[in-house]
C-alpha cells in the first residue's frame, strides 16, 4: 500500500490528470497507514472528502471496519456519493428524512456492505441508532471521521454541545483506531483546544484558507425596507445562483416572499418545525439549478457543497467573522468570479445580542427540570412541561445540555421519558459566562469587519490566524469600486408597503360587548375608538416572543433588547402619523413595575414623556382567565381608573400581551373620553392560542 495506489484511487474519482494537493496524502497516510489521529484544517472545496474516501478505501482493503462519518450535514451530496462509487465504496446516510431507506441500510450493515455511514452528532444518542444501527454494524468501525471538528471547542465560533459526546467517545477509543477531524474554520486557539481534547498525538495538517475567486463587499443600509429594495434591485445583475442569508427564520420567510413577489425564483430554507421542511429536496433542487436563490438561515449548513454559487448575500450581519467566512465561502468554489456581499442594518446587533442572551436557559430552568425529574423515575416531555414554567424550546435546550452533561438521560422503552441519572450536576456558570463573553468579542470583531477599510479577505483570514495572506486585489476595498447603496425609490416604497403589511396589527374594536354599559350604545363612538396598533411578536414564538415570555414569567423584567426592538419597530417601520406625543401603560397591582418599567424605558428611546395616568383600583383576574367578551370588558372597566387631567396629544398605550384586546379597547376608550388625542395601542406580544 503506497502513495501510488492512493493516487490511482484519486484519479479514478476526479480525473486522470489530477494529483494530490499538498497535505492530502499526508493526512491519508496518517490515518489509513499509521492509524493515527489527524486534524485537517483546509478551506472548503480543498478536497477533505477525498481524504476520507481514500482513507476508507485503503482501510477496507486491510479488512478494517466501516467509516463512521459524524457530520452536521444531512447527507452526502449526490456528487460525493458518485465519487465514492467510482472507487467501489458504498456510502449511506441516516437522517430523519430517509426513514424509508433504513431497512436497506440495516441490511447493508449486516452484510458488511456499507463502507461509509453518515450520521449527525445528535444521532449518537438516539434510540434507533443505539438499538438498531449499532447492532447491525457487523463489520465493526474502522475509522471515525468528525466533520466540522471546530465544533468540539467552546473557544470556537460554533461550539456545539453535541460534539462533547463525540469527544468522550473518542477518549474511550484504544490506540490503533484512527480518527480524522476536518474543518475549514479553526483558528490557532481552536486547533489547540481540539488537540487538548483529542490527545497530544493529534497530527494537524493546515493549509492556506484564501478563496481565490471571491469578491467581498460590505454595504450599510439601516432599514430593512432599504435592504429589501437593494436585493430586488441588484440580484438580477447576477446570472447565476446564490444564497441570501438571514439571521432569523421570520426574516428568511419575509425575504423569500419579497423576492418571489419581485419575480425572483427564490425559496426559503430553515430548520423549520418538526422537520416539516424537506431540506434535502431543497438542497438538491438548488444544486440542480431548479431554484435560483435560496434564502436561508445558518441551517443551510456546513459542508453544503454547490460549486457554482455566484453570490452569497447577507441580509444581516452574522455573529462572528469566522461564521461569516464559512458562509460566504460557499460562493464560487468552481467559478472564476463570485461575490460575497454583506448588507448590514440597524437591527443586526439586537438580533445577535438576543441570540447571545438566550443561548443558554436560565439557571432556574435547569433547576426546575432537575427538581421535577428527581422526584420521579422518569417523565415524558408533556409531564415535564406541566411542572416547569418555560417555553418548549428553552426546556429542550436545557434538557439537551443536561443530557450531554450526564445529568439526564432519555429512554424509549415503553414510552419516551427523561430521567435523572445518578451523576452530580451543577450549572457551569463559568463556562456559560466565558462563552457569552467570547460571543460579544466576536460580535465586536464583526463590527470591525463591516467598518474595515483595508482588504476584506485579508481581514477574514487574519481572524482565522492565516497570517501569510496578502491583499486580495478583488474586494471592493482593494478595487475601490463595487455595488452602490443607491436604491430605486419605487422599490423602496414597495418594500415599505410590503413590510407594513406583514407587521402584526392590533385592529381596534368598534363595539362594546352587548349589555356592558346600559347607558351606552353598543357601538363605540368612532372618536373614542383606538387607532391601529402593533404587536412586536407572537407570544412564546421563537425570537422576541420567547423573550417576552421569559420576561413575563421568569425574569419579571423586559430586557433592553426588547425596548430597542420596540423602539425600532415604532420609529422605523410602523411610523404612526401623527407620531405619539406621550406614553402611558396599562397598570397592574400585582406587578406594578413590569409593564410601566418597560414603558418608561421605551419613552426614553422614543424621546417622549411617560405619564402614568391610568390606575388600578383593584387587581383583576388575568384576562386569559376570563371566558367571554362580556366578562373581559367588565373586568377591565370595573377596575381601571383615570386621572382627571391628561395631556391632549396622541398617546402610545403600552401593554405586555394582547389577548382579547378588551383591556386596550377599554383603556383607550377612557383615555379618549377624558381628552387625549389618538390612542395607539402597542404590545410586546400577541397571544397565540397555542401558547396561552
Amino acid at each position: 500500500m503506497n502513495k501510488n495506489h492512493a493516487l490511482e484511487l484519486l484519479q479514478k474519482m476526479i480525473g486522470e490528470d489530477k494529483t494530490f494537493r499538498p497535505g492530502q496524502w499526508e493526512a491519508i497516510e496518517a490515518v489509513a497507514v499509521k492509524k493515527q489521529r489527524a486534524l485537517v484544517v483546509q478551506r472548503t472545496g480543498w478536497g477533505k472528502s477525498l481524504v476520507y474516501f481514500i482513507a476508507t478505501k485503503l482501510l477496507r482493503e486491510q479488512n478494517a471496519g466501516l467509516t463512521l462519518l459524524i457530520s452536521p450535514l444531512l447527507s452526502l451530496m449526490r456528487n460525493q456519493v458518485e465519487m465514492a462509487t467510482k472507487i467501489g465504496l458504498s456510502a449511506y446516510s441516516i437522517n430523519s428524512a430517509n426513514r424509508n431507506e433504513w431497512d436497506d441500510i440495516e441490511n447493508a450493515l449486516l452484510k458488511d456492505e456499507c463502507d461509509i455511514i453518515l450520521i449527525s452528532p445528535e444521532r449518537l444518542n438516539n434510540e434507533y441508532f443505539l438499538k438498531k444501527v449499532l447492532p447491525s454494524i457487523s463489520g465493526q468501525i474502522g475509522l471515525f471521521v468528525v466533520d466540522e471538528a471546530h465544533c468540539i471547542s467552546d473557544w470556537g465560533h460554533d461550539f456545539r454541545p453535541d460534539y462533547r459526546r463525540i469527544v468522550r467517545i473518542l477518549q474511550l477509543l484504544p490506540k490503533g483506531l484512527p480518527v480524522l477531524g476536518t474543518t475549514a474554520t479553526a483558528n490557532d486557539r481552536v486547533v489547540k483546544d481540539v488537540q487538548l481534547q483529542l490527545g497530544p498525538d493529534l497530527h494537524v495538517y493546515r493549509g492556506p484558507l484564501a478563496r481565490e475567486s471571491l469578491r467581498l463587499q460590505n454595504l450599510y443600509l439601516a432599514k430593512k425596507s432599504e435592504r429589501l429594495a437593494w436585493l430586488a434591485g441588484n440580484l438580477n445583475k447576477f446570472k447565476g445562483s446564490g444564497i441570501v442569508y438571514c439571521s432569523t427564520v421570520a426574516d428568511v420567510e419575509q425575504v423569500a416572499e419579497w423576492l418571489q413577489s419581485n419575480g425572483y425564483q427564490a425559496e426559503a430554507y430553515h430548520a423549520g418545525k418538526d422537520g416539516e421542511m424537506d431540506r434535502v429536496a431543497l438542497e438538491q433542487a438548488f444544486i440542480n439549478n431548479e431554484i435560483r436563490i435560496l434564502v436561508a438561515t445558518v441551517a443551510l449548513g456546513m459542508g453544503f457543497d454547490k460549486p457554482d454559487i455566484e453570490f452569497v448575500v447577507h441580509f444581516q450581519k452574522p455573529g462572528s467573522v469566522v461564521a461569516y467566512y464559512q458562509q460566504v465561502g460557499r460562493a464560487g468554489r468552481a467559478l472564476n468570479k463570485s461575490y460575497g456581499i454583506l448588507l448590514n442594518g440597524i437591527e443586526d446587533d439586537n438580533i445577535q445580542n438576543y441570540f447571545i442572551d438566550t443561548a443558554f436557559p436560565s439557571e432556574d430552568v435547569f433547576l426546575d427540570i432537575l427538581h421535577a425529574l428527581e422526584k420521579s423515575e422518569g417523565l415524558s416531555m408533556a409531564e415535564l412541561m406541566s411542572e416547569v414554567n418555560t417555553s418548549n424550546s428553552m426546556a429542550e435546550k436545557a434538557l439537551k445540555i443536561l443530557e450531554l452533561e450526564g445529568a439526564v438521560q432519555q429512554t424509549n422503552e415503553d414510552r419516551k421519558i427523561y430521567f435523572r441519572t445518578v451523576n452530580p450536576w451543577e450549572v457551569n456558570r463559568e463556562q456559560i459566562k466565558r462563552i457569552q463573553t467570547l460571543r460579544r468579542e466576536e460580535l465586536a470583531q464583526m463590527q470591525d469587519y463591516v467598518s474595515h477599510t483595508g482588504c476584506l479577505m485579508q481581514f477574514l483570514l487574519g481572524a482565522l490566524d492565516d497570517y501569510d495572506s496578502k491583499p486580495c486585489g478583488r474586494c471592493a476595498n482593494c478595487q475601490g469600486k463595487g455595488f452602490t447603496t443607491e436604491l430605486n425609490p419605487d422599490l423602496l416604497c414597495k418594500a415599505e408597503h410590503f413590510l407594513k403589511s406583514i407587521e402584526i396589527p392590533i385592529t381596534p374594536r368598534k363595539r362594546f360587548p352587548a349589555g356592558l354599559l346600559l347607558d351606552q350604545k353598543i357601538i363605540i363612538p368612532p372618536e373614542w375608538q383606538n387607532a391601529d396598533g402593533r404587536s412586536l411578536s407572537f407570544y412564546g414564538h421563537a425570537g422576541w416572543g420567547e423573550m417576552v415570555q421569559a420576561g413575563k414569567y421568569v425574569d419579571d423584567y423586559f430586557s433592553d433588547d426588547l425596548v430597542n426592538a420596540a423602539a425600532q419597530l415604532i420609529k422605523n417601520s410602523w411610523t404612526p402619523d401623527p407620531f405619539p406625543a406621550w406614553i402611558c401603560s396599562i397598570p397592574s397591582l400585582s406587578r406594578p413595575k413590569l409593564v410601566s418599567g418597560f414603558a418608561k424605558r421605551l419613552s426614553k428611546e422614543l424621546d417622549i414623556p411617560y405619564m402614568p395616568v391610568l390606575h388600578r383600583v383593584r387587581e383583576t383576574e388575568e384576562q386569559k382567565m376570563m371566558q367571554n367578551s362580556f366578562m373581559q370588558a367588565k373586568n377591565v372597566l370595573d377596575t381601571l381608573h383615570i386621572d382627571s387631567q391628561i395631556p391632549s396629544g396622541p398617546v402610545l398605550l403600552v401593554d405586555d400581551i394582547i389577548d382579547s384586546g378588551w383591556t386596550l379597547t377599554m383603556a383607550g376608550y377612557l383615555l379618549r373620553k377624558n381628552g387625549s388625542g389618538l390612542v395607539y395601542p402597542f404590545t410586546l406580544a400577541k397571544a397565540s392560542k397555542r401558547s396561552l
Partner: protein, 326 residues
C-alpha cells in the same frame, strides 16, 4: 471518564457490551479468560498489548490457533462500538472496573482468585466495595420477626459504620438496605440484573448521589433477571463482607439456601444464622451445618454488635484460622 488500555482489552474480550444477537463472536467466559490471562502473564504481556494487533500477530505472539486468534481479533475489533456504548453508560452514571484495575475489590481477588469476575459494572461510591461490613441475606418471603431482624441489622450497620452488603432483591435485601440508608449508613447492593433500571429508582438515586450506596453487578447493565445470574452473584455478596447473617432461608432450595451453603463450605467468612422461635426450617438446618447462632431479639446493644460478632466468630476454631478478617 477514561479507561486504561488493559481494562479496554478486558472489556472487549470478556463483556457483552457491543455484542448483539447478530454478532458472530461471543465473549470469553471466565475460564477462557483465565487461560488467556495466564498466557499473557507467561509472556510478560499486558492485556492492552493485544490492542491494534492483526490476527496473524496475535496468533504468532500468543502461539494460539488461527481460530482462537481470529476470535480474539474479532472481539477486539469492536472497540469503536464499545466506545459508543460505554459513553452512554458513563453518561447515565455507570462505570466499569476490570481485574486489571488497581481499585478492583481486593477481597474478590483474595477470596475468589480466578473465580473473581473479570468485569464489574457499578454506579455509586466504589470505595465502599470491601469496606468492613455485614452481608445480610434472606429469602423474599419472611415472617414478621425476620422483617424486624432485617431492619434491626440494617439500622445497626448504619449507626455503627459497617457497610450493609445485600443482593438488592425484594424482602430481606431491600428491608435491611433501606434501614441502613435511613440512618445515613452505607450499603452495597450486588445485583443480578438491570443496573440501568435500578439507578432510576429515586431512593437508590438519592443514596448514590449522597455517596451512601454503590450498586454493582458482574452482568451487563441491561441484563434481565435470570435465576442463573442471581445464583451466580451470591458469592459476590458474601466475599465483600466480613460477616454474613442469614435472616431467613428455605431448606434445600432457593437462592438463600444455595448461597449460604456455598459460603459455609468455602469458609470465606463467619456465617451467622438468625435464631428465634419462629425461624424457618432452613435456618435450623444451616445452624446444624456450621452456621453461628445470632439470637433474636438481638443479643447485644447495636453499638457493640461488631465486637460481639468478632467474639462469637472467634469461638469457632476453624473460622479463626481464616485470613484477612481483621
Amino acid at each position: 471518564m477514561s479507561i486504561t488500555q488493559d481494562s479496554q482489552a478486558i472489556l472487549l474480550l470478556c463483556s457483552y457490551l457491543g455484542i448483539y444477537a447478530s454478532s458472530e463472536v461471543k465473549p470469553l467466559n471466565l475460564r477462557q479468560w483465565n487461560s488467556l490471562a495466564r498466557r499473557l502473564q507467561d509472556l510478560s504481556m499486558r492485556p492492552g498489548d493485544l490492542l491494534g494487533l492483526s490476527v496473524a500477530e496475535i496468533q504468532e505472539k500468543l502461539s494460539v490457533s488461527a481460530d482462537e486468534a481470529h476470535r480474539y481479533s474479532g472481539l477486539l475489533a469492536r472497540s469503536g462500538i464499545l466506545a459508543i456504548e460505554l459513553e452512554r453508560l458513563n453518561s447515565s452514571g455507570i462505570q466499569v472496573l476490570t481485574r486489571a484495575d488497581d481499585d478492583y475489590p481486593a477481597k474478590y481477588r483474595e477470596r475468589l482468585k480466578e473465580s473473581a469476575p473479570s468485569v464489574l459494572f457499578f454506579a455509586g461510591e466504589k470505595a465502599l466495595l470491601g469496606q468492613p461490613g455485614i452481608a445480610v441475606v434472606g429469602s423474599r418471603n419472611l415472617n414478621e420477626t425476620g422483617a424486624e431482624a432485617a431492619e434491626f441489622v440494617g439500622n445497626t450497620c448504619g449507626v455503627s459504620g459497617l457497610v450493609l452488603y445485600s443482593g438488592g432483591a425484594r424482602g430481606v435485601d431491600t428491608i435491611s438496605m433501606r434501614a441502613a440508608l435511613q440512618v445515613r449508613g452505607t450499603s452495597v447492593g450486588v445485583i443480578a440484573d438491570s443496573l440501568e433500571k435500578a439507578i432510576r429508582d429515586p431512593e437508590n438515586r438519592f443514596a448514590i448521589q449522597r455517596g451512601d450506596l454503590c450498586l454493582v453487578t458482574p452482568y451487563s447493565p441491561n441484563t434481565p433477571f435470570s435465576i442463573g445470574n442471581a445464583m451466580g452473584r451470591n458469592k459476590l455478596i458474601y466475599t465483600l463482607a466480613d460477616y454474613a447473617l442469614i435472616v431467613a432461608s428455605d431448606v434445600g432450595k432457593g437462592g438463600t439456601w444455595a448461597g449460604a451453603t456455598e459460603a459455609l463450605k468455602a469458609k470465606w467468612l463467619p456465617v451467622f444464622v438468625l435464631k428465634h422461635e419462629l425461624m424457618p426450617e432452613g435456618n435450623n438446618k444451616l445452624l446444624e451445618n456450621g452456621g453461628l447462632a445470632f439470637p433474636y431479639p438481638p443479643p447485644v446493644d447495636p453499638m457493640i454488635l461488631k465486637d460481639w460478632l468478632k467474639e462469637e466468630a472467634g469461638k469457632i476454631k476453624p473460622k479463626a484460622e481464616q485470613l484477612s478478617f481483621f
